[in-house]
Symmetry: C2
Subunit: 353 residues, 2 copies
């Protein structure tokens, strides 16, 4: 059995949880390396992966004897088999943040479980702390993202559409060994005032601010970076906002280290924005890993503290409705003493000639 | 208020459900044209769309006065406001197949709802029957998919990788006004024996069978088509399987019309495969629309009948583990008298020279 599965089994013991149904495919992959549609059952006696004809062969190719995972095809599992799986478990954990209400009811019914207990994101919490291999993958994802940014600065020309630029970014990721970690945002001119703009057919033109939110995924691990760049010139009003956003990103980055309070870091930036008359429109940041958005949420509502080897994105932004917006985001590694930026593209005013 | 929202309100009345929380973003889009993160509340008095700073401006640009939807920013909603929204509702519907168990508990708590009732996929059921505009979009998505298939047949050369071909298909969709409706499958040689293969770096070579499962999404509506093609020659053993799959797809298509039993159609194909010694490894098909996989599921477990203006994909396949596989799939429109194929690419043996 691998270390992660062993860890989970030990953890469940400490919580006096006697079995667990793992349904979130990202968590299943984290625990087993299996990439398919199916669920992982930790029973008193065994680890069982349940899938169907579509994936059986693929999963068979992945699993080794040392994995200690029994592969079952649902078509061979009888109603009695289901009922037997957790028969001697007083309680069974499930992922309350992933399983639908209908799924919860189905579990109760199918496995005849008396007590399904919430596991409070235990696997997601464990995933927050990255190991060496994971950090290596994220570094590589960030490096491809940085390289792509350098490339795209030369690619962007007046008259191109937002969509065209977003497509070229995603093409670059693929050609360079990755895939897009999320739908690339290219928001130009007034579109940049919307934090979650979708690339449109709007053409890039003189004087535009362009917010580019991009990230590569490499070997299943994500990068997340945002830069706001300019076409021809930077408006003085925008410069003021740009500086405020950048200064506050740096203030946040300077506060990051093992043991730092997420609430306090967020409040500092929130306060600085308020003093200058700007709203804080979204969370300051989020964890980055197998999902591009994962826990911890970096917001003033959080009661959590940062830990060594978390990877988080810090992305303050200011948006003036109907006019323009500025967001600057980097993915960083939390260490004992501070943080190490993993995305490293320049944050000077970047002006397309 | 638009027809769809009016329909839902009327339907809820007939079910004596006094309010509803719509959380599935595809359903929200179907009902309102809003594409964002947020939820739609149908209360006794109003339609409310709840979102946050990130999307407020974008949604404001979409909504018109005739929509009769009140836009609220969650930061302006107090605990008392939440409690007041459904105050006089004896019961409130929610989407039990979409909302997580944790989300369900949050609804109960936040809105102080006494009775949250399951709505049994009512919106998804309504979405099964496509209107004129929706059919037009799906037709266009299918046409781009067909054109792409013609294009890609000329593009594929020995030595190219599966990934390269999948990327080119997706690039074609984007250049031609669409986006990929799902992750394109290009599975060659022994990889084709896995129904859900992911494109790899395997190079196309002489004698390969290549299963290509592809679909364009146009204006939010999907197409889904699969062809198995051959490189240089078709092995006689594969021909036999190809013919069996193709004949059975045709048998299924011939049975499709308003009022036909999904169970019977599926059983016919299942039986024909069994007689010839082959397992039926996945459902025969599925609905196609805003999601590439939606209800109705076309399988022998279904008790449903087909209805006019459903759009479904029929995709029988036979897979010989470790060797090869054949799948043939088309998206079709169900009519009173039969079905109209919307994807129309040739199903003759297609051999890359």
């Amino acid at each position: 059995m691998n270390d992660r599965l062993r860890w989970l089994r030990n953890y469940l013991k400490t919580q006096k949880i006697q079995g667990m149904i793992v349904s979130n495919p990202v968590n299943v992959y984290y625990l087993t390396n299996i990439e398919a549609e199916g669920i992982l059952l930790l029973t008193l006696k065994e680890n069982i992966y349940l899938t169907d004809d579509r994936y059986i062969e693929k999963v068979q190719r992945t699993l080794m004897i040392d994995d200690e995972i029994i592969l079952s095809n649902i078509k061979d599992v009888s109603l009695e088999d289901y009922e037997g799986m957790f028969m001697f478990c007083e309680n069974v954990g499930f992922e309350e943040n992933y399983v639908t209400y209908a799924g919860y009811k189905e579990f109760m019914h199918k496995y005849k479980i008396h007590s399904l207990v919430e596991t409070e994101g235990i696997i997601e919490k464990q995933r927050q702390i990255k190991d060496e291999k994971e950090i290596e993958y994220i570094k590589k994802a960030c490096q491809i993202t940085d390289d792509c940014f350098t490339y795209i600065l030369n690619y962007i020309k007046r008259g191109m559409t937002e969509k065209q630029i977003a497509d070229e970014i995603e093409r670059y990721f693929k050609v360079n060994g990755g895939v897009p970690a999320f739908e690339t945002i290219v928001a130009s001119g007034t579109n940049s005032s919307m934090p979650h703009a979708v690339p449109t057919d709007r053409q890039i033109s003189e004087g535009d601010a362009i917010t580019i939110d991009m990230g590569c995924s490499y070997n299943g691990y994500c990068a997340d970076m945002t830069r706001t760049i300019f076409v021809g010139k930077v408006d003085e009003n925008v410069k003021q906002i740009y500086d405020l956003v950048l200064d506050n990103q740096q203030i946040a980055l300077d506060e990051i280290k093992e043991g730092a309070s997420i609430k306090i870091i967020s409040r500092i930036v929130e306060g600085n924005f308020k003093v200058n008359g700007y709203d804080f429109m979204h969370a300051l940041g989020h964890g980055v890993g197998m999902n591009v958005h994962e826990t911890p949420v970096i917001s003033s509502k959080s009661e959590k503290i940062l830990k060594e080897n978390m990877v988080i994105a810090i992305e303050p932004g200011i948006y003036i409705p109907g006019m323009y917006g500025v967001r600057i985001e980097d993915t960083v590694l939390v260490t004992k003493e501070g943080c190490i930026p993993l995305t490293k593209s320049s944050k000077e005013y970047c002006i397309i000639k």
